[in-house]
């Protein structure tokens, strides 16, 4: 489904602080599979996740989505692709403060101009499936860590994307909440979603829900 061919990514290229975060990664990720990119801090796993999710373009190499080269596409096209194909769960959850949980969940669908009743129905269903319905009208900053993560997952799912990308999803959760997260992963797998996560938490990458673990070190595949 997603193919990376000799992908490299540099930050501050040509400057004194130039950093190559990803150095020639070739990789193929199958649909309906749960994959974990494992590695220590600074190994390039988050950067690789952003390249997979079209949040950034590689400095060199090719990224193909369903056989189509997306590495040279314009920002506008990438945004559309991102919106339709990927749902993101950030490490810090990145919910918008001051908005309710329901509004946060609805946010990715605003640019699509979906009718409000339809969008609210979708948000409500997602929140209910993640046991967050009672908190729908609570403001994002009032949520606990686990609730905030589930709200972020609901937001990632509102446009019904095929691929869910999660950056260090258990980094801010205790063991109980990490198990709760794995329950959600199992449920998403059952629904046919492709999950790609970064983690250095053994609880996650050793979990039976995970189909494949890809090791990374210093921007290379292990």
């Amino acid at each position: 489904m997603i193919e990376l061919v000799d992908v490299r990514k540099a930050f501050n290229q040509g400057q004194h602080n130039e950093l190559w975060a990803v150095r020639g990664v070739t990789l193929r990720l199958e649909a309906n599979c749960t994959t974990v990119l494992r590695g220590p801090s600074g190994s390039g796993k988050t950067t690789l996740l952003t390249l997979i999710g079209c949040l950034a373009r590689p400095t060199s190499g090719r990224v193909r989505l369903r056989g189509r080269d997306v590495s040279g596409m314009t920002e506008r096209f990438l945004t559309g692709l991102r919106r339709q194909t990927f749902g993101f769960v950030f490490q810090q959850f990145n919910l918008v403060r001051g908005l309710t949980v329901e509004e946060n969940v609805m946010l990715p669908a605003y640019p699509l101009g979906v009718s409000r009743p339809e969008l609210r129905r979708r948000a409500h269903n997602l929140l209910e499936s993640l046991d967050l319905a009672p908190h729908a009208q609570a403001r994002a900053e009032w949520l606990s860590g686990g609730q905030a993560q589930r709200a972020a997952i609901a937001r990632a799912l509102v446009n019904d994307p095929a691929v869910i990308l999660a950056d260090e999803p258990t980094a801010n959760l205790d063991t109980d909440l990490s198990h709760r997260f794995l329950d959600i992963v199992r449920d998403l797998k059952r629904k046919g979603k492709t999950l790609i996560m970064t983690s250095h938490d053994p609880l996650l990458y050793q979990a039976p829900e995970v189909d494949r673990v890809i090791g990374l070190r210093d921007g290379h595949l292990d």
Partner: protein, 380 residues
Amino acid sequence: MPNNPWFQRQRYLVDFTVGALARRKGRNLALLAVYALIVFVLASVLLFSQALRHEAAMLLSSAPEVTVQRMVAGRHDLVPAAYLDRLAKVRGVADGRGRLWGYYYDPSVAANYTLLVPMSDPPPPGKVRVGATLARTRGLGVGDVLSLRSHEGHPFPFTVDGTLSSESALLTADLVLVCEQDFRALFGIPAGLYTDLILTVRNPREVTKVAEKVLRTLPDTRPIVRDDILRTYAALFDWREGMVMVLLSGAVLAFIIFAWDKASGLSAEERREIGVLKAIGWETSDIMAMKLWEGLLVSVFAFLLGYLAAYLHVFGFGASLFGPVLKGWSVLYPQFELTPRVDGFQVFTLFFLSVFPYALATIVPVWRAAIADPDVVMRQ
């Protein structure tokens, strides 16, 4: 229409923007208050000057078509009545009359009065009619005595016969109407001399031509046509308006710097929010549209608030803050009701100058933040 995706998208953007404004309540309320205050001040000056110009034009519409003054050594001098006979022979002149008027300085209120002999229905000898403002300042009512000093230094008592309506207060604030006999006695002007002459012209389109003929007939005179007076008044109010604007320019400049700083600077929270929105699938254009809505909502609301307050200030409260400066009387400030009058072009200019620069200023930094790669948010 409400189900149209474009329309729905704009509604979401506006909703989100209103929410964003409410989230930064303190900052936005402070900005709105200062913004509205500046619009209020500028709109007050513009509305008031506009109304004054209109008021003056209305009153002067009944002024004589041509006024003839005699000039001696470049100074305005008394005109002999014999000039009227010579002017009557000028083609185009329908009628000519001598006018008596002058100024009187009253040390008790440190103000100048304008004394005038009316063309029709003058007060009886020993009586005067006074402007409403003068009556108020001197505490005069009908039957009270207004004592002036004659040119020889003798007291010249007048009984107040009536006061002039406050509708014409802009021009009659300091006016004292007396009869010809008293005027000549007070100022020592002998019979056969007038302050100036006024002419009625048969064809209003020939006023300028008649003025030229007057000058040829009587080279020691200066004919003044009504349009000249109107232009002088307009220029006077323009000048006063300009002076106030210059004084206010400091405040306006301070606001521009303040607004530019507020509009063009993005807080860390806003940058983060833009990053999140981009990462979850908002396009750069969505974010720009959202911020444009924000700029428009703030500036349009501030404009409406400021303009409405200015309208109430000028037409409801008599422009109590700037009135004295713009009216220009040093001591006798006229009290009168201005007719509400709004000039569409002026509103548009003020709207354009106050709304668009701000709305555009909000766009530049957002554009800079919004074109950054959305992966920044992953590294926060």
